[in-house]
C-alpha cells in the first residue's frame, strides 16, 4: 500500500492548462450538483444523490481516460466523471426530472444511475458492487481483441464489503486485465462508518489479497489524484494489470435527499469535514500560483451557472415519457 500526496515536485509535472481544466471540470460538476439539490428542495425533483466532495478524484481519473476508447462502469456519485467523459448538464437534468429524452434511462431509473453508450459508460443499476464484474468482463473482451483500452470502474468503500468486489478483483488480477478500480472512500456507507465495515485502515490494503498495487490518495488533493490516476491508467494500458486506487475524501452532503446525516453524525464532525472541501483548497492553490488570475474563478462560475440555467430551462420543457412506453425495450424485439 502506497500513500500518494502531492507536493511541489508533482505540481511541476502537471502543466497549467491541465490544472485549469481540472478546476473547470470540478467546478462545473459542483455547480450542476448544487442545482440538483435546489431542484429537489423545490419539489421539482423527487430524488438526488450527490457527488459533492468527490469531484477531485473523479475529474483526475476522467482526465486520464481517452474518450471514445476507454470505458467506464461508474457508480451513483460519479457526476463529475461522466461530465469529463462528455455527458452534459442537460443530460443529467433531463434525468433528475425523469424526462423521456434522459440519455441515462429515459426517466426509468432514479437520477444518478449513469449510462451512455455514446460515451462508453455502461448503464448502472442500484445494487452496488455488481459493476466491478462488468468492468472485468469488458477488460477481458478488450484483451481478447488485442486492444490496449482501459476500463475504469468506481465504488464506495462500504460497497467493497460485498462479494462481487472480491470476485472482480480476483478475476482481473488473475488475468492481468486493464481495469482501474477506483474506491471513493468517504468514510460512510449511509450511516455506517468504515470502522464497522472493515478492519483495515485503508481500502487499498485489500489489493494485497490479489497481488496487485493498492494506492491510497488524499481525495481532496486533485493533483495527487491526477498523478495517481495517471499511473494506474498507464499501468493498465501497458498490460501490467489492474490497480486498486483509493481516494479518501468526504461526503459533504447527506447520503441522499432521503437522508439526514445529522441523525447519526455530530455537528462538530460535519463542520470539520467542510474545511476539507477539495474545491476552495484547489482554487486558492491555483490563485497562489497565478494560474487563476483574480476574478477568473468567479467568471468561470458565472459561465457555468449560465450553462446549468440553460440546461434546466431546456429540461423543464422536455417531454415526459408516455405511460405506454413503459412496455417498451424489455427485449430487443420491441423495436
Amino acid at each position: 500500500m502506497v500513500v500518494a500526496r502531492s507536493h511541489a515536485v508533482t505540481r511541476e509535472n502537471v502543466d497549467a492548462d491541465t490544472l485549469r481544466t481540472l478546476y473547470r471540470h470540478m467546478l462545473r460538476s459542483r455547480v450542476l450538483d448544487e442545482r440538483m439539490w435546489v431542484l429537489n428542495r423545490q419539489g421539482r425533483a423527487p430524488f438526488w444523490i450527490s457527488g459533492i466532495g468527490h469531484e477531485a478524484i473523479q475529474v483526475a481519473v476522467g482526465m486520464n481516460m481517452e474518450p471514445g476508447r476507454d470505458w467506464l462502469a461508474p457508480y451513483y456519485r460519479d457526476l463529475a466523471l461522466t461530465l469529463v467523459l462528455g455527458m452534459t448538464p442537460r443530460d443529467h437534468i433531463l434525468s433528475v426530472l425523469a424526462k423521456a429524452d434522459d440519455p441515462n434511462s429515459g426517466g426509468r431509473q432514479m437520477p444518478a444511475h449513469y449510462g451512455s453508450r455514446a460515451h462508453n459508460i455502461i448503464s448502472t443499476g442500484s445494487p452496488v458492487t455488481t459493476q466491478l464484474l462488468h468492468a472485468a468482463g469488458i477488460a477481458l473482451a478488450m484483451k481478447m481483441r488485442g486492444e490496449d483500452s482501459v476500463c475504469v470502474t468506481s465504488i464506495g468503500e462500504g460497497s467493497t464489503s460485498g462479494g462481487d468486489f472480491h470476485e472482480a478483483l480476483n478475476f482481473a488480477a488473475t488475468h492481468k486485465l486493464a481495469v482501474v478500480f477506483v474506491v471513493e472512500n468517504n468514510g460512510y456507507a449511509i450511516s455506517v462508518p468504515v470502522e464497522k465495515q472493515m478492519a483495515t485502515p485503508n481500502v487499498a490494503d485489500r489489493a494485497l489479497a490479489y497481488g496487485i498495487p493498492g494506492v491510497s490518495v488524499d481525495g481532496n488533493d486533485v493533483i495527487a489524484c491526477y498523478r495517481t490516476a495517471r499511473d494506474a491508467v498507464q499501468r493498465a494500458r501497458s498490460g501490467l494489470g489492474p490497480t486498486l486506487l483509493e481516494a479518501k475524501l468526504h461526503r459533504l452532503t447527506s447520503h441522499s435527499s432521503d437522508d439526514d446525516q445529522r441523525r447519526y453524525r455530530s455537528a462538530d464532525d460535519l463542520a470539520a469535514e467542510r474545511a476539507h472541501d477539495c474545491l476552495p483548497h484547489f482554487r486558492s492553490m491555483l490563485e497562489d500560483l497565478g494560474i487563476l488570475a483574480p476574478g477568473d474563478a468567479e467568471r468561470l462560475r458565472l459561465e457555468l451557472v449560465a450553462e446549468v440555467d440553460e440546461a434546466t430551462a431546456f429540461a423543464e420543457q422536455a417531454a415526459d415519457p408516455l405511460a405506454e412506453s413503459a412496455l417498451l425495450h424489455v427485449y430487443a424485439e420491441d423495436d
Binding site: M110, G125, I190, S191, V192, Q197, P321, A323, E324, A326
Partner: protein, 327 residues
Amino acid sequence: MPTKSYLEAIREGMRDEMRRDERVMILGEDVGAKGGVFGTTEGLQAEFGEWRVMDSPLAESCIVGVCIGAALYGMRPIAEIQFQDFILPAVDQIVSEAAKMRYRSNNDWGVPMVLRAPFGGGVHGALYHSQSLEAMFCGVPGLKVVVPSTPYDAKGLLISAMRDPDPVLYFEHKRAYRSIKGEVPDEEYTVPLGSAAVMREGRDIAIFSFGMVVHMALEAAERIAADGFECEVVDLRSLRPLDRAAIVSSARKCGKVMVAQEANLAVSIASEVAAIVAEECFEYLDAPVMRIGGPEIPAMPFAHALEDFYLVTPDKLEAALRTLAAY
C-alpha cells in the same frame, strides 16, 4: 385499543420480543444509529446495545449467512435487508442454506431466523426500490413467507415469525409504513403463520390479494357494492404456505375469482392461487379466473406516468371487477 401505524407495529413487535427473549438480535445495514432507512429499528440500538442491534457491512449474503450461523448456535436473529430488491445477493444463503438446513440434516439442525425486507412500489423508488419479489421464495420448500397488510397483523405475524423454529421471510410493504394505521394492542399477541384472513365477506366474487393491494381491493369492493355486487376480500397474509382451505372455501362460495397483486403475473402468487382454484373448484366456477397485476416489464420505472402505468389501483380493480361481475 390504541391506534398505531404499520411501522410502529413492526417496531413494537421487535422491541417487545427483544425484551422478552434475549436471544433475539437484529443485523442489517443502518439498523443502528440511523434506525433503518425507514425508521423501523429507531431507538432499538439505544435500548439493546450495539451487539443486539448491529450495523452490518454492506453485504447481504453476509447478513443472512451470519444470522444462519447465529441461529444454529441458539440465537433468534432478525436479518434486515434494506430493500427487498437487495435480497438477491443473499439468495444462495436463503435457498441453499436456511431453507434446506433442517431437511438436509434430517432434523438435527434448524434455522430459527426472521428475514425482514420492505417491498413494493408507489414511492418513486424506481426499478430497484419498488419490486415485489415474493414469488422467487414462495416456491421454496423449507421457507415460510408472510406479508402483513394491517398494523395488527404486522405485529402479530412478526411475533409468530420470531418464535418460529424455521426461517420466515417477513415482507413489509414500504408504502404501508406510515399510510396504514389501525388498532394494535399494547400487549403481546400472535397471529398464526399459514392462515389467510377474510377482510370482507361477500358471495359474488372472491378477491385474493396481499400487502397494499388488499386495501385497494377493499376500496374497489365498496365501490361495486353500491351496485349490488358483494365481493369477499381475502388477505392471503401467508404466501408460503398458502391457506389452501381458505382459498378453496371462498372461491367455491363465490364462483367467481380474482387474484390481484402488485408484481407481474408470470409464475407468481397469482398463478399459484389460480392453479389451486383450477384444481379444486372446477364444479363451482361461474367464470374464468381473473388475474390482475403488474405488466411483464422488469420493474417499476421512476417517472410518474410510468410508475402509475405499472401500479394496480382501486380504479383498475373496479373496472376489472365490473367485467368479471358481468360475465
